[in-house]
Assembly symmetry: C2
């Protein structure tokens, strides 16, 4: 594993970022209090020996982060910021030499995976919907009807690119995220993971460097590393999302061959990049000719009014490879995913051919049929509503049962809450203690290749809130307090 050698060193081009960072940290530490007026742009420029433009940009930066607000004809003021909001998480923080160091990242991940399938467990570790939220009966019906409608009972090989009906509906759904996609632009895969693997293999070779978010879904690390690729983590956080400046610098330093990001409801942060930032990201990568693998697996799980746009919708050069699946929305066990690989379609088709000839016929046909009958749209409306409610309910319970110094993310979609505990708490220890109470959570350690998140945990709100969950969260709160 190559560790990034980047430090956030002063960079004359990004002076305003430093100024904003410094001011931001003063605001967070309440050196400048909520409601206080800040110096005018002119005064700041004078005071810091910077240009008016740089001073202005620093304030805009703070505004974007939600730390200050511009009041018309009056100036900039520190906004109300709840004590529980996140500190800016910077990569390359101090490596904490805690207990958890004794267990390797791989071993931790393997442990967490093992407990995924333990039946008697309160599984707060799985970023998926509870079975009760999935339309079992209607999907079974689609499976049977699809097999009956197939001229060969789905017993024959499916074509390499995938089931036609399924591709047609994936293309249609692309409208909702701003895409203009034809069925032939799509290649189906064995879940989203396989799509990511093929995309990575299409644009890299072993030894190459790939940029991913930190923190990110732990499965990604293993997958990227198992392909012989090196990882550079680009800092992202629950309030500002991906650090594009850092990314641009990293591209220069590390010869990054591909980026693999989750721009919509990233896991574990639940953060959705704004349309503007998505566009900037696509343009930035286009400028440097770096392909973007856009993991859009949570894209349909929005709590707002509309489906967020994707980076793919801003892609003019075919450099964005969108990957998704129905594993988080409909049927994890069906392993039906896809990618829209832009100009790398030929490579993806070849890789699929070399790996497995084609994907399973019955499962693709069943999901295609589920779309075709309109069952999917109906199901998704219900699922989104249920998840949003669950998100709020879990957040509230955590506020009630967890100690006061705990900070919780406010996701705009997806399945998970990202929770920062007191610095002294070792999340992996907490994870192990919780297991003895038959509660599985995901310790922060497994979301990064370094040890920045030893005091974080991820909790899934995929299961409807009930007494068992309530009891589990109370127990967790008690365990955290005891530390």
């Amino acid at each position: 594993m190559e560790k990034s050698t980047l430090t956030t060193i002063p960079d004359e081009d990004f002076l305003y970022v430093q100024i904003a960072d410094r001011l931001g940290s003063q605001i967070r530490q309440q050196v400048i209090k909520t409601g206080e007026k800040l110096p005018s742009v002119r005064a700041l420029s004078h005071e810091q020996g910077i240009s008016l433009s740089t001073a202005y940009k620093a304030y805009v930066q703070l505004e974007i982060k939600g730390l200050i607000e511009a009041r018309p004809k009056s100036g900039y003021y520190v906004r109300y910021t709840p004590a529980r909001s996140f500190d800016k998480i910077k990569p390359k923080g101090e490596q904490q030499e805690g207990e958890s160091k004794k267990v390797s990242l791989d071993e931790m991940i393997a442990m967490v995976y093992r407990n995924f399938s333990a039946e008697s467990m309160l599984r707060l570790s799985v970023a998926s919907p509870a079975l009760s939220l999935l339309p079992q009966a209607r999907l079974n019906k689609s499976m049977m009807e699809a097999i009956r409608l197939s001229p060969n009972s789905c017993i024959s090989y499916e074509s390499v690119q995938g089931n036609e009906t399924l591709k047609k509906h994936i293309a249609r759904h692309a409208f909702s995220w701003g895409g203009n996609i034809l069925p032939d632009d799509i290649v189906t895969t064995q879940g989203c993971m396989e799509a990511l693997v093929f995309c990575l293999r299409a644009v890299t070779k072993p030894g190459d460097v790939v940029a991913i978010e930190g923190p990110t879904y732990f499965g990604i690390f293993n997958t990227v590393q198992s392909l012989g690729l090196k990882i550079v983590e680009i800092p992202t956080d629950a309030t500002d999302g991906l650090d594009l400046n850092y990314l641009e610098k990293a591209i220069g330093v590390h010869k990054i061959k591909a980026c693999l990001f989750v721009p919509t409801f990233s896991n574990p942060l639940g953060y959705c990049m704004t349309n503007e930032r998505k566009k900037q990201l696509v343009e930035l990568l286009a400028k440097h000719e770096v392909p973007l693998i856009e993991d859009d697996i949570y894209g349909e799980m929005y709590f707002g009014k509309t489906r967020p746009r994707t980076c793919k919708s801003y892609d003019k050069q075919g450099l964005v490879m969108l990957c998704s699946s129905v594993s988080k929305t409909l049927a994890p066990g069906y392993r039906v995913g896809w990618c829209i690989p832009g100009k790398f379609k030929r490579e993806i088709v070849n890789l699929k051919l070399m790996h497995s000839l084609s994907s399973a016929s019955p499962t693709q046909a069943a999901i295609g049929h589920f779309f075709e009958t309109g069952r999917y749209d109906l199901h998704m409306r219900n699922l989104r509503k249920a998840l949003h409610t669950q998100c709020l309910r879990y957040t509230q319970a955590i506020a009630e049962h967890f100690p006061d110094d705990v900070k919780v993310s406010r996701p705009q979609g997806g399945y998970v809450l990202w929770i920062e505990l007191d610095k002294k708490i070792d999340a992996f220890e907490l994870y192990k203690q919780a297991l003895t109470y038959k509660i599985s959570i995901s310790p922060g350690q497994i979301f990064s290749t370094d040890s920045r998140f030893t005091n974080f945990i991820r909790i899934s709100f995929g299961a409807p809130y009930n007494d068992e969950v309530d009891k589990g969260l109370k127990t967790l709160g008690r365990l955290i307090s005891k530390f």
Copy 2:
């Protein structure tokens, strides 16, 4: 592509093989005529200065090859052997600078693949059973029953190693090939191809050298190369199979990191290594600590009385990784395969986890159920009988319709005939001409990385013999004659 620089040398340990070879070549050249009685074992032993046991083994060898037959209480006789049997095919033959050179191997393979799925085509190119030979209705029933029996309707993730019922029956079936396998020794995969890919990745890294048979299934070349591996082709032919002496030398010269062979009914040759040779192969590789990836996908398609043993059955050190699937026997489109990876199980489980978390639940459950109800054994008895009949019927038709100088393999199982045409004939040209008559065949060029097989074609007998096939083979025969 690294080219091998090896040649074949005599080996004292295999005296009986040499004797059998010499006798066999006399039989083929009609020095000893059909129906003639051979010297008794005792006479042969005396005549050649070899032990009785070696003489006996030489005759058994010739019997296995179908060149002689033992008549009870009478002795050994030369069997009826059509003049069309194979000459020994040696690798490193002259490179033929034909027309087909203009099209790259990759392009040829891509073309052949494309025509696999063309519906109106007489598909003599596909090494799979015709749909009519597959138990569609009974398999649909298993799918529905399996989903009904599953506590979660097969909607949830299957465990990483795979469906329990399926693994149980794979383990049970291992008895028939001499294996002593537990369900927990097995990892299910997305077809046999994915099993091969995981096995290759488990024991090699990009740049390593892998030994495969030449000629072999063209999908293997692409798969091996797409993993950044180099190929050494070990010569094999339709009468003697894999050249073990050549292999041993190749291991020394090339630092071979893994072998990927099809010891039972290799594709395209249809050759089955004898038990003795399989054991030798395993011991040879164990001596050099080289893992063997045993592609056993055709193992169940035997025409003889019993299921041939596998190399895996001789494996004492866990170095043999057996891969198979139901794609050739039951349901190509289900993509249900498995591997029995010996001591590399942990690596395989990890690779599967990194690639796709798990395999599809409904398809695994359906195949498991199909085994559980005994439907599989019944189906296989019928399928084997049908295939053996088709094999003989196709062979006879080729003898009738093709020119006299054409030579045909005599497979002991599997789906394909390997046919040698006149040296002047360019098989890829023939392939293209046949396409204009809506007949697809596999040209020999795609079965090797060099140009040894420009005058070979592979024809599948997976479809029942009927008027369409008859007409197709007549047309092919006419095209061949015109060259």
